[in-house]
């Protein structure tokens, strides 16, 4: 009764939200049903509902297979590297940009550090290939010039978590600094003035005033990142590594693994991929709930829900 009255009273406002409500239902809620495929033997001809239930076989196949532990560890490990390096670099850029007084220098450098955020992974991929490839790549030529042996980057899995992190920082750290910079510029000048009167050095001001004031922002952003720790950066990793199986050992994450399972010619590819996707969604959901609980304790105003 109450619902209908409310809907009627604000019918135009609800009507404005309706396209998105319908859209999200089709594009986000309907596909969730595909998680059921994890428990079915999917035959495209029979569709989602017509296919046969086979219980936990697909999940068992995934968890008894050789890959699941490796891809899970890779996903978590690469994300941890991304979060740590991304946070530190963004924070440094913001802190140091804030120290720059020359408006022109500040504007130009800020524009430049944000620029990589705006280009597609395909372009990044091209840059990476041309800088790192075998004989004539830029990096190898520099190495040779300084008397080192050239490295065959695309056949050395061990270096890639690190290289991906550098690429991630290149692409995202400048963009990530905007949010810290915005928080920074809001801090009252009074704190700094009184610290200066007490004889605090500039780095002491940063250490004992700015960083403590930034703490809530840093914590919340880090926890948000940790909440997505089971979701690999598909665009970046698949865009650069692609189907280069020599590098899978260190770079294959859950998302790229799912994608390949889906595309494989295996009879049961959809159901296998669905089992992995279900595992990821459940783990992701649990992590977000967990870290939201943590945020609630640390800083109740910043909780997500």
């Amino acid at each position: 009764m109450g619902i209908w009255r409310e809907l009627r009273k604000n019918k135009w406002l609800y009507a404005m939200s309706l396209p998105v409500v319908v859209y999200v239902f089709i594009f986000s809620y309907v596909p969730m049903s595909a998680h059921l495929l994890a428990f079915k033997q999917f035959v495209p001809g029979k569709g989602l509902w017509g296919s046969k239930w086979i219980g936990l076989d697909n999940l068992a196949f995934f968890f008894t297979g050789p890959d699941w532990l490796g891809v899970t560890i890779n996903t978590v490990y690469i994300n941890l590297l991304f979060i740590a390096a991304g946070t530190i670099c963004s924070l440094c850029i913001a802190l140091l940009l804030n120290e720059i007084r020359r408006a022109y220098f500040k504007k130009v450098t800020q524009s430049l550090v944000i620029l990589p955020h705006f280009i597609s992974i395909v372009v990044v991929n091209l840059m990476v290939i041309n800088f790192f490839n075998g004989q004539d790549g830029m990096i190898n030529r520099i190495l040779v010039q300084f008397g080192n042996e050239p490295v065959n980057w695309f056949q050395s899995p061990a270096v890639w978590p690190c290289l991906l992190t550098i690429i991630f920082v290149w692409k995202g750290a400048g963009w990530g600094s905007i949010i810290y910079l915005a928080a920074l510029t809001g801090f009252s000048e009074e704190y700094y003035e009184s610290a200066r009167i007490d004889g605090a050095k500039r780095w002491q001001q940063i250490r004992y005033i700015t960083l403590p004031l930034l703490r809530p922002t840093i914590i919340v952003l880090t926890l948000l990142g940790l909440g997505r720790i089971f979701y690999g950066d598909f665009g970046l990793i698949y865009g650069i590594i692609g189907d280069n199986s020599l590098l899978f050992h260190s770079t294959d994450v859950i998302d790229t693994y799912t994608y390949r399972s889906l595309r494989s010619t295996n009879m049961n590819s959809y159901s296998n991929a669905a089992a992995v996707a279900l595992f990821q969604s459940v783990m992701g959901f649990a992590t977000i709930l967990f870290f939201n609980g943590v945020v609630r304790r640390v800083d109740n105003d910043s909780k997500l829900f």
Partner: protein
């Protein structure tokens, strides 16, 4: 607080641009300058490389080449693929951004409007899809089997039409608007839709421009949907064209060109990149002044 501080201004502390300030400033200039260079150099190499003569480019990239040529551009622009792909990219970006901004802003407005009793239900309905994403398999089945959009431009247009993140950004902006504005208009008997488009929309131009930029970039830079769903080269967007000639550099036939100048695959790749990121660089200064301010408003509060 703010008033007090202006009263206190006259007691100026002694000018303490001491050595610690200088040291920190110096470190700031060096580090920020170095990181800015680090970000910029790859762009420069690509840009200058695209104009470098073939004889030099095959020896690898140089910061300052000495021989220049336009052969790579000539090769690319005499082919039909770059125009077809360019058209697809522009069409998807323009149509998609227009639709996405309209949908998102209407929804965000309803989700922010204090009269709407279920506004938090609306927000959670969106938020839940971030907590529990549908997953790749469902997404693939939806587009390719259930909606049957293979090889259709809609397969690149529809999936990006709404972003929960952008919607929250807008919702938190709309929440900061003075509600009396609507109140006054409603008393005058104006229609909700009219209020939205005639009053709210104009005063929200900064945030709308920001969101439009975000959507436009997402559309322009998207290659994943094309990779998954578009097999027909006539419907490949620029990013997909680029991906094709990168992953298969032996096969420049893809570009459908009838130029018979000898060019290196690298040169053609570089000139394609310049054409692909050109519009972004061109629009960048215009849009930058909006988004830095507005992204942070939404992000800090939202």
């Amino acid at each position: 607080m703010a008033e007090n501080s202006t009263h206190l201004k006259p007691i100026k502390p002694p000018k303490l641009r001491d050595r610690s300030q200088l040291a920190v400033s110096a470190a700031a200039y060096v580090f920020v300058g170095a990181f800015a260079l680090f970000c910029f150099i790859p762009f420069w190499l690509v840009y200058i490389g695209s104009f470098t003569a073939e004889s030099q480019i095959v020896q690898g990239f140089r910061m300052f080449p000495t021989e220049f040529s336009l052969d790579a551009y000539r090769f690319l622009l005499q082919g039909s693929q770059v125009y077809e792909s360019g058209f697809v990219s522009v069409f998807i970006t323009v149509a998609g951004t227009a639709g996405a901004v309209l949908l998102t802003s209407m929804f965000a407005y309803a989700a922010a409007h204090p009269h709407v009793k279920y506004r938090y239900v609306l927000s959670f309905y969106i938020y839940f899809t971030m907590l529990f994403p549908p997953g790749l398999v469902g997404y693939y089945l939806l587009i390719s089997n259930w909606l049957d959009l293979r090889d259709s431009l809609l397969a690149m247009l529809l999936p990006l039409l709404f972003s929960a993140f952008n919607s929250f950004l807008m919702t938190s902006y709309f929440r900061t608007l003075p509600f009396e504005l609507n109140e006054a208009a409603t008393v005058d008997g104006a229609h909700e839709l009219r209020i939205f488009f005639r009053i709210i929309w104009p005063i929200s131009m900064p945030v709308i421009a920001t969101i439009a930029l975000f959507y436009a970039l997402t559309y322009w830079n998207d290659w994943f949907n094309a990779l998954m769903f578009i097999d027909d080269p006539h419907r490949h967007p620029l990013q997909m064209m680029l991906r094709r000639i990168i992953s298969n550099s032996q096969n420049l036939d893809y570009l459908n060109t009838n130029a018979n100048t000898p060019v290196s695959a690298t040169g053609v790749q570089l000139s394609s990149v310049v054409i692909t990121i050109g519009p972004i660089i061109f629009l960048y200064p215009f849009l930058q002044r909006y988004f830095i301010k507005d992204m942070t408003i939404g992000a800090v509060k939202g």
